[in-house]
Symmetry: C2
Subunit: 234 residues, 2 copies
Amino acid sequence: MSGTLTLVGVGPGDPELLTLKAVRAISAADIVVFPQKPNEPPLALSIAEQHIHANALRLPVDLPMKVEREPAQLAYDQIAGVIAKHLANGKTVAYLCEGDPLFYGSAMYLIERMPDAKIQIIPGITSLTATASVVGRPLAARNETLKILPAPLPSEKLAMELNNTQSAAIIKVGRHFDRVRDVLKITGHAQNAMIVERATQGEQKITPLLEFASNERPYFSTILCYKGDETWGK
Amino acid sequence: MSGTLTLVGVGPGDPELLTLKAVRAISAADIVVFPQKPNEPPLALSIAEQHIHANALRLPVDLPMKVEREPAQLAYDQIAGVIAKHLANGKTVAYLCEGDPLFYGSAMYLIERMPDAKIQIIPGITSLTATASVVGRPLAARNETLKILPAPLPSEKLAMELNNTQSAAIIKVGRHFDRVRDVLKITGHAQNAMIVERATQGEQKITPLLEFASNERPYFSTILCYKGDETWGK
């Protein structure tokens, strides 16, 4: 394979949060691959769009919205085969990743399918730091532990990890919101927690966790938790 | 205060990992403030330098290299006073932060000293994702917990946090290297751990943890830990 595959972190949503390196890789690509879900505008494409060369081929990876992993894995099988052919023809391929390719990203599914490809990885701004920047409060400082906890984890695991830590970020909140809020109330993290939806995107929304009405559900959101009363817990 | 203070994440070292937003803020600044330690070239300045306006005033914050917190806090007191005067005169001030301002950054010391200032925060690429990108392995995926653990934490705390997790990043390794390596051997994370020094900088060095000679000490480094034998642990 003489071509190069670049996994490009495009950041959380604001097109100005693309790095110079990402812009250069996107502009130089013969083929631009991006994930796409049914009935959702493709976020990664919309962030990068203005930098894509007019003659570049755009290839969506059609990801099904299912809890089971298999249908998505088949989509990655298929796109890996298509990308491999383009690389064999010496093409330059950019795969657009929301946020950062290696921070809970899908890029790993391509990496593991293409052991012989020349792959370059460009880190991106994560939803984690983007969320902190719009709240204006540190994620962690000095010698504090910071835990990234996916909301689908069992409540017992979440509570155990939260009980001995001051700073945490709960990601992938979605339909787990009510359960997670209950856990945070029990562990003492609810009081100062902030929930941020669509950080840096047009419809961004920042809400103290306890001000969410019980029948509301947040979109694409991260909860920042601070236990205690110190400066950054206020 | 009619001026604006922007806390700018300049990323881990590669000047191409500046965001478009950071470049714009740096270029527009009347005054550019940056941390500086004795006998070290100022990293944040060197990353941003080519974008600073020729007429901009450059203001170093001289940070002492001491374990005690007080001398550095006095330096922040002093710079906050200087910045406040410039803001009162309607100036645009950019404070350059290595990595991301709110991910174990010093920006919080300015925020807490300037409650009345108009402050904008621009997130930056962290050393965490930069390290993963040069190793080429995910930090975490799906519903895994990811723990960020500062090396100065007591060994018992490190071991406790590592014992129930697969993925972790040890930051601020420095003089704690030997002790941390011993902890990782006991918890079962040493086998697949990688240590990255100066990620994305000119003198970047990537070494499997167990290949470090016993008398070597790593510089500005992060250890990525993967327990177990799954795909991403190899």
